[in-house]
Amino acid sequence: MIEVLADKDSHYKIGGQKVKQITVKAGEPVVLKVEARKGKTWSRDGAVHGFTLLRARDHAKVPGWDLELKPGMQTFTLTAPTEPGEYEVMCTVICSDDHEGMRMKFVVTP
């Protein structure tokens, strides 16, 4: 299980890690437990942050990894991308003045 805090300061934080990066094995099941805290701004549908996975080289979306985060704790059961490489987690809700910087490295190993 990977524990993520999508914080009110528009940063992702990973439980027990100083470096904000997620590393998973290609195609493995991933349980993502996310706590979302409302920043300065939020979305009309109640989402306070997003958690969308894009392939780093071309920003192609990874199917199934387009998550909207409501305030509080939520758990997602997902499958890691089958293609090893570098990916990026992006926030898709305008959550504060620092929204554009709310991103995190995501590495898929073979």
């Binding site: 701004t41 549908d45 387009d66 992006m90 898709t92 305008i94």
Partner: protein
């Protein structure tokens, strides 16, 4: 004579059932025609932009966001957003993202089938609106 009547009844019954089914199916059809603009989900759902527009991004001078079209494409292609249809205060998700993307920032007329549960328009046709 009685046999003939039963035979006729057997013929008519399936026809009635078909008509009934067709009527029910038509009643459930959620075909809608909507007039609005193609924007990105991030700006469209932003509660802090009064016009639910790209003002926030443009005001912040975000790179690549200088007008409605460029802001929409930046938020979708670089920031993970989705193309949506904005009709006044309503936001509709669009099932075919590739098709919607061809009209980024444009005023459009969309005809398709609305799933009210997810506010998503499926199987739609789209054209530029005057």
């Amino acid at each position: 004579m009685k046999v003939r009547k039963i035979s006729q009844f057997r013929m008519v019954l399936p026809c009635c059932a078909l008509i009934l089914l067709a009527t029910l199916a038509f009643g459930k059809d959620n075909t809608v025609t909507l007039h609005g603009s193609i924007e990105d989900s991030q700006c469209a759902y932003n509660v802090h932009s009064d016009g639910h527009s790209h003002d926030w991004m443009i005001k912040k001078k975000v790179e690549g966001a200088t007008d409605a079209k460029s802001c929409t494409n930046h938020c979708v292609r670089d920031m993970g957003g989705n193309y949506v249809l904005v009709v006044k205060n309503e936001v509709y998700r669009l099932a075919d993202q590739d098709l919607a993307g061809k009209f980024a920032g444009d005023k459009v007329k969309i005809t398709g089938i609305l799933d009210p549960a997810t506010q998503t328009v499926h199987h739609f046709t789209i054209e530029q609106d005057k």
